[in-house]
Every structure is written in structure tokens, then in C-alpha cells.
């Protein structure tokens, strides 16, 4: 691959680059290779990993993670972080649960209100980051803590316990769970959340690569000042990205709540870093301006495969995080190696 010789031409931007190098230069290729390595590893070392039911297991884990990773990847390409993304999945699930079980709404109106509420929180995050010019890392960390406190405080004050239960008896549960938390392909039971994940990843990829807002996202993450100077509505783009992240969190919150027919007050806390990790493994730069939605999906897939693969292997769980850490490091290394080589070919 590195042998792909570049012909000396007048303008290097017009250079004829080989297909291989062009492919390797895509941000998601590294995570794809990482995913393949881990997939082959567990496929060979365990019995169940490669069966259809096994695949259903790890795509299940990857799906809710993947939906969030795609949203977080968009936000990171736009140059911002959202640390409240994890706890938002709990907040939105709890809100839907309380609206239905405590205040007597039926499922669908509650779902609509939950999405509206999530969009509002995302808007608040965005406007605070824009107005204060503080790092989004700090602003959303504050949102994270505020929401975590509200989740526990409100849940306990209203229900007297630390979870909202009984969603299964709410009118509209059956139709809502058909859309958000049912399973497909009977004996193997693939989760419908996998379809949501693929749809959202495809939509995000289309937006990023084929539309004007997609260009804007790369521009505001790469250099906000330059973007503003060429007429990109930087504030609007960033606020929209925060809202997208929150709305995706609501989707995941609803999916999980309907699946478990209950929501715990601690739901989602700590997951925000997994989303960021998946996005970074998938080729997003922490500095913004570079990355891909498909890559983030592969990142989520890696985490999901490692999670279920370790379960199938029966490895001593004391070591679980060591394995996860090594696997993630491995994925990032493969990613880096591939990109280095691809960029080396360019020069």
C-alpha cells in the first residue's frame, strides 16, 4: 500500500491517488479492521459467538450504544462534547415512565413529550456553550450532575423507590414496544434497536457526506472562525448538534425503558465515555473536524462484540476491564497504523 507511487505532477491536489490509499484514508477503515480482528478472534475461540443467536446478542449490545455513538460522533466532528449524553438516556426514560405510570398519560403522548423535553435540554446545552464560550466539556459535565441529581431526587420523591416500574400496563405499551423494543426473526431474536441504529447511521452518513449541513459540521469543528467568515451559521449548527445528541439519547432511553418495562434512577450514568470511546475508535478526532458516523458504528460494534465475547468465553470477570482496555487500545492502534500508512502514501 505504501508502495503506491505518486506521479510528480504540478499540483498535488490533482494527484492521481490509487484506490487502495483512497480507501485506507477513510476515517472508518481502521475501526472496520479492528472490528474484523475482534470478530474473528471471538468467532474462533468461542462456540456461540458466530451463531445467529450469538450475533443477535452482540448486535443488541452494540445497537443502543451505536445510536448514541453516531450522535456523539456528529457532535465531536462539530468540535464539541456532551458528557450529559449518558445520563440523558436515564432522564428521558424516567420522564416517560413517570408521565405514564404516575400522571396517567398513555404511551404515545408521553413519548412525544419526552422527545420535546430532550430537544429542550439539548437546546439548553447548546445555548449555554455558545453564550458562555466555556468548553462544552465543563458545561455538559454540569448538566450531567444536575440531571443525575434530578433523576434520583424526583424518582424517589414521587415513587418512594429508586425505579419507575409497571410500564407494561400503560395503554399504548404494546404498539410502542413494537416500534421501539420488539425482536425480529423469531428463534434468534434480533432487536429492533439494531434497525434504528443502522437507519440513524445511514442518515448521519448521508447528511455528513451529501448535504450542506454536513459540510457545515466539518467546518465548525475544523475551524469555527474560518467557518463563520465564509458564512456558516456556527451557533445554529452547534445547537442543532447538541439537540440531535439529546434526541438520540431520548430514543435510547425510550428503547431501554420499553424493553425492561421499568427504568432505574441510575440508568445510563457512566455510559457517556463509552460513546466517546466508540466515536474515537471509529476515527473521530478529539479536536473536532474529522470523523465518520460509520466509523463510530464500528466502534460501538467493537465494544458490543468484546462485551458479549467475554461473556461467551467465560473469562474470569475480574479481568473484564483489562480485556476491554486492551481490545480498545488494539483497535485504536490498528486504526492509527492504517491512517499513518495511508497518509504516508499521500506525501
Amino acid at each position: 500500500m505504501s508502495t503506491t507511487a505518486v506521479q510528480p505532477v504540478a499540483d498535488e491536489r490533482l494527484a492521481n491517488i490509487g484506490l487502495g490509499a483512497r480507501l485506507l484514508r477513510r476515517p472508518e477503515v481502521g475501526s472496520l479492521l479492528g472490528a474484523l480482528v475482534i470478530c474473528v478472534f471471538f468467532w474462533v475461540t468461542t462456540d456461540s459467538f458466530g451463531t445467529l443467536s450469538g450475533i443477535a446478542n452482540w448486535t443488541d449490545v452494540a445497537s443502543t450504544l451505536g445510536i448514541m455513538s453516531v450522535a456523539v460522533a456528529l457532535l465531536m466532528i462539530g468540535g464539541e462534547f456532551d458528557l450529559s449524553a449518558g445520563v440523558m438516556t436515564g432522564t428521558t426514560g424516567l420522564l416517560m415512565g413517570l408521565l405514564t405510570t404516575e400522571w396517567g398519560l398513555s404511551m404515545w403522548p408521553a413519548i412525544v413529550l419526552t422527545f420535546v423535553f430532550a430537544a429542550g435540554i439539548g437546546f439548553l446545552n447548546g445555548i449555554m456553550v455558545i453564550k458562555t464560550k466555556l468548553p462544552s466539556f465543563i458545561v455538559t459535565l454540569a448538566t450531567f450532575f444536575v440531571l443525575q441529581g434530578i433523576n434520583l431526587g424526583v424518582t424517589k420523591a414521587i415513587t418512594g423507590t429508586v425505579r419507575v416500574a409497571g410500564l407494561g400496563d400503560v395503554p399504548g405499551y404494546d404498539s410502542a414496544s413494537k416500534l421501539f423494543s420488539s425482536t425480529l426473526w423469531a428463534p434468534h431474536n434480533f432487536r429492533i434497536s439494531v434497525i434504528w441504529w443502522i437507519a440513524i447511521a445511514a442518515l448521519a452518513t448521508w447528511v455528513l457526506s451529501r448535504t450542506r449541513p454536513g459540510n457545515w459540521i466539518f467546518a465548525v469543528g475544523g475551524d469555527p472562525n474560518a467557518a463563520r467568515n465564509v458564512g456558516v451559521p456556527v451557533a445554529r449548527v452547534k445547537i442543532a448538534l447538541f439537540m440531535t445528541t439529546s434526541i438520540c439519547a431520548a430514543l435510547v432511553g425510550i428503547i431501554v425503558a420499553l424493553r425492561l418495562s421499568s427504568v432505574q434512577a441510575g440508568q445510563g450514568v457512566g455510559e457517556e465515555f463509552t460513546y466517546i470511546i466508540a466515536a474515537v475508535v471509529g476515527g473521530c478526532l478529539l479536536t473536532g473536524g474529522y470523523g465518520s458516523a460509520i466509523g463510530a458504528s464500528f466502534g460501538a460494534l467493537i465494544v458490543g462484540m468484546a462485551f458479549i465475547g467475554i461473556s461467551f468465553s467465560g473469562w474470569n470477570t475480574d479481568w473484564r476491564f483489562l480485556f476491554l482496555g486492551v481490545i480498545l487500545l488494539l483497535a485504536v492502534l490498528v486504526n492509527n497504523l492504517v491512517r499513518h500508512r495511508a497518509e504516508g502514501a499521500r506525501r
Binding site: 505504501s2 480482528v37 478472534f41 474462533v44 475461540t45 468461542t46 462456540d47 456461540s48 451463531t51 443467536s53 450469538g54 443477535a56 446478542n57 443488541d60 449490545v61 443502543t64 434520583l152 423507590t161 429508586v162 425505579r163 416500574a165 409497571g166 407494561g168 431474536n189 431501554v256 424493553r259 425492561l260 418495562s261 421499568s262 432505574q264 434512577a265 441510575g266 440508568q267 450514568v269 462485551f307 458479549i308 467475554i310 461473556s311 461467551f312 468465553s313 467465560g314 473469562w315 474470569n316 470477570t317 475480574d318 479481568w319 473484564r320 480485556f323 486492551v326 481490545i327 487500545l329 488494539l330 492502534l333 490498528v334 492509527n336 497504523l337 499513518h340 500508512r341 504516508g344
Partner: protein, 337 residues
């Protein structure tokens, strides 16, 4: 050249991971796998399948000192029964626990033991196991729901009764205001213990939510500032041994004279009981909660036995006080109490 070194590093890591995984994966095939330095071949896996009984245990545990003892019980049980154990913990995440149970069902294990702190969340997954003909036993949490979920029996203590016992003991000791320290946000069982303690205590009980076992220093500060801000508190009930040790330091740090008791044991807690720093510990003997389900499930598989007669098998509450602490001390050091 740098690229070459990168590639070499990546390859080494794959090999290292494979060897390590194989070594940890099973005692029987560890040697030849690590000498090959490559992933275990298909034959190794097939050889161990079929002649073994495999039991999966999926708990909401957090790897803390409480669950380490339960896990040791399960491992000892598996060793003595000659079966393979696949133990996994979800760290209080019900979605992950459901997914781990799904994985165990896919893996076609011969028996499944699960803790059920949030029965709704894992009901569907447990049902899948029952439908697939896998016998299920609940452990630790889930005494009220095991039958409903289709489990053979439950191995644990009922939280409310244990809480009542602890509250009554404080009342005997003449305490007036009790602080109940809750260390996991979403574990219903902890709230049930505090509610039980309230019933048994009769006096004023206040619950305090703290950070938890993964951040002991913050937890310590939280308890200490609570004691400093309200010096009418003359009794503290911790619900976990790690939290109890933090609470002991917090009581000292706050200069409070509050009496301290805890749920569950660790080496440190037993030492503190011997030293008179902790009054008593409510012992649910979680070693049994790991050990017994493995034994029951193995017997169910090999000898078609069912245990419990539709009732839970109680492993507690027992009380560890200064009188019996010494006996327990040695056992706690070995990690079985």
C-alpha cells in the same frame, strides 16, 4: 521504520491477548494454547463441550468485597461439583444484565443462576432461559419474585426481615436517631433494608444516599459531613462492608459517638467488631448464595433434584458480634465469609 514497529507492536498485542485469554479461559487447555501463542483451536473447545456441565451465574455485582465472596462460593461449588462456571457481573446495569442472560441462553448452558434486584428488567430474558429448558435459580435479590419468574428457588435472605432485625438491635442498645446509608442508587433491596430497619427501630430513621463503593473517599466525606451537621444521630447503619469501613472512619473523623452496624462482612469489618468499633454485622452469608445455586443446578442436571419446595432457601440473617467475631475472622481472611 516506525510503521514497522507499530505493526510489530500490534501483532505482539494480538498474540499476547490470545495467550492470556486462553490461559484465563480454562485450566484444562491453558498450557498447550499458550505454547502455540495463537487462539485456541476449534478442537480444544469441542473436547471440553459435552462431557461437562456448564453453569452460568449472572449477578448485578460490582466486584467489591461482598461479591468477591459470593463469586468464590460459586467457584468453590463449581470446583467441588466438577462443573464449568461462567460468572459475569453487570455492575447494577439492568440492561447489561439482561444482555448477559441472553448470551448465556445462546450459549446453551445447563443451569442459570441470576440475582434479580430489578425483576421487571430481566423477566423477559429469564423467561427465554425457562422456555429454552434451562433451570433457573435466583440469588441474593429477588425473594418475592422468583416463583413468578419461573425460577426453581431463591437463595438469599429477605431484605425487610433482615432490616427489621438490625433496627431492633439498635433499639435494644438504646439509640434514638438512626442514619441508614444507601450506597447504590438503583437497588430496591437497599431501600427495603432501610424500611425494615425503620420498622424494627421504632424511632427516627433518616436515609442518606452516598456515592458508593467505587468512590470510597467521597462516600466517607458525605457521611462525615452528615454526622457533623446533625449531632443527634447516635446510630449509623451501613449496608455494605466497604461502606461500613468508610462510615467507621467518618464517625471517628466527625468526633461522633454514634454506634455503627453494617450489613455483610469483610475482614476489616470483623476486625472492627473485635476492636469494638462496629457493634454488629448482619450476615447474609453470601458465600452460600454463590455456592448453593451451583450445587442445586448441578444436582438438578445430573440427578433431577429440585430444592426448596417452592420456597426460598434462606442464607440469613445471622448476626456477627464481639462474641463470635474471632471464629469468623479467620474465615473472612480466607475470603469465604
Amino acid at each position: 521504520m516506525r510503521q514497522l514497529r507499530y505493526a510489530l507492536l500490534a501483532v505482539l498485542m494480538v498474540l499476547g491477548l490470545a495467550a492470556f485469554a486462553a490461559a484465563c479461559g480454562g485450566d484444562d487447555d491453558g498450557d498447550d494454547a499458550s505454547s502455540e501463542g495463537a487462539p485456541t483451536t476449534k478442537d480444544d473447545v469441542d473436547l471440553t463441550q459435552g462431557q461437562d456441565v456448564t453453569i452460568a451465574m449472572v449477578t448485578h455485582g460490582d466486584g467489591g468485597s461482598f461479591w468477591a465472596v459470593a463469586k468464590k462460593g460459586a467457584e468453590d461449588g463449581a470446583k467441588q461439583m466438577g462443573v464449568t462456571l461462567k460468572y459475569s457481573e453487570s455492575n447494577n446495569d439492568p440492561q447489561k444484565q439482561a444482555q448477559m442472560i441472553d448470551a448465556a441462553v445462546t450459549d446453551k448452558v445447563d443451569g442459570l443462576a441470576v440475582s434479580a434486584p430489578n425483576p421487571d428488567a430481566i423477566r423477559d430474558s429469564v423467561k427465554k432461559a425457562v422456555d429454552a429448558g434451562i433451570p433457573v435459580i435466583t440469588l441474593n435479590s429477588g425473594a418475592e419474585d422468583f416463583a413468578d419468574m419461573g425460577a426453581m428457588t431463591h437463595v438469599g435472605q429477605t431484605e425487610t426481615i433482615a432490616g427489621e432485625g438490625a433496627g431492633a438491635k439498635f433499639k435494644e442498645a438504646g439509640a434514638k436517631k438512626l442514619l441508614c446509608v444507601i450506597h447504590e442508587q438503583s437497588n430496591i433491596g437497599l431501600n427495603q433494608r432501610c424500611d425494615g430497619a425503620k420498622t424494627g427501630f421504632g424511632g427516627e430513621v433518616e436515609n442518606l444516599q452516598v456515592k458508593g463503593t467505587d468512590d470510597i473517599s467521597t462516600t466517607l466525606t458525605e457521611i462525615q459531613s452528615k454526622l457533623q451537621s446533625d449531632n443527634s444521630i447516635d446510630a449509623v447503619l451501613a449496608l455494605n462492608p466497604d461502606i461500613a469501613v468508610a462510615a467507621r472512619d467518618a464517625v471517628k473523623g466527625a468526633g461522633s459517638s454514634a454506634k455503627l452496624a453494617t450489613f455483610d462482612l469483610s475482614g476489616d469489618v470483623v476486625q472492627a467488631i473485635q476492636d469494638g468499633e462496629i457493634e454488629f454485622a448482619v450476615d447474609q452469608q453470601q458465600y452460600l448464595q454463590g455456592y448453593l445455586p451451583v450445587v442445586f443446578l448441578t444436582l438438578n442436571k445430573t440427578n433431577a433434584n429440585t430444592v426448596g419446595g417452592g420456597q426460598p432457601v434462606l442464607t440469613g440473617p445471622g448476626f456477627v458480634t464481639k462474641d463470635n467475631a474471632e471464629t469468623v475472622a479467620q474465615l473472612a481472611k480466607d475470603g469465604t465469609r
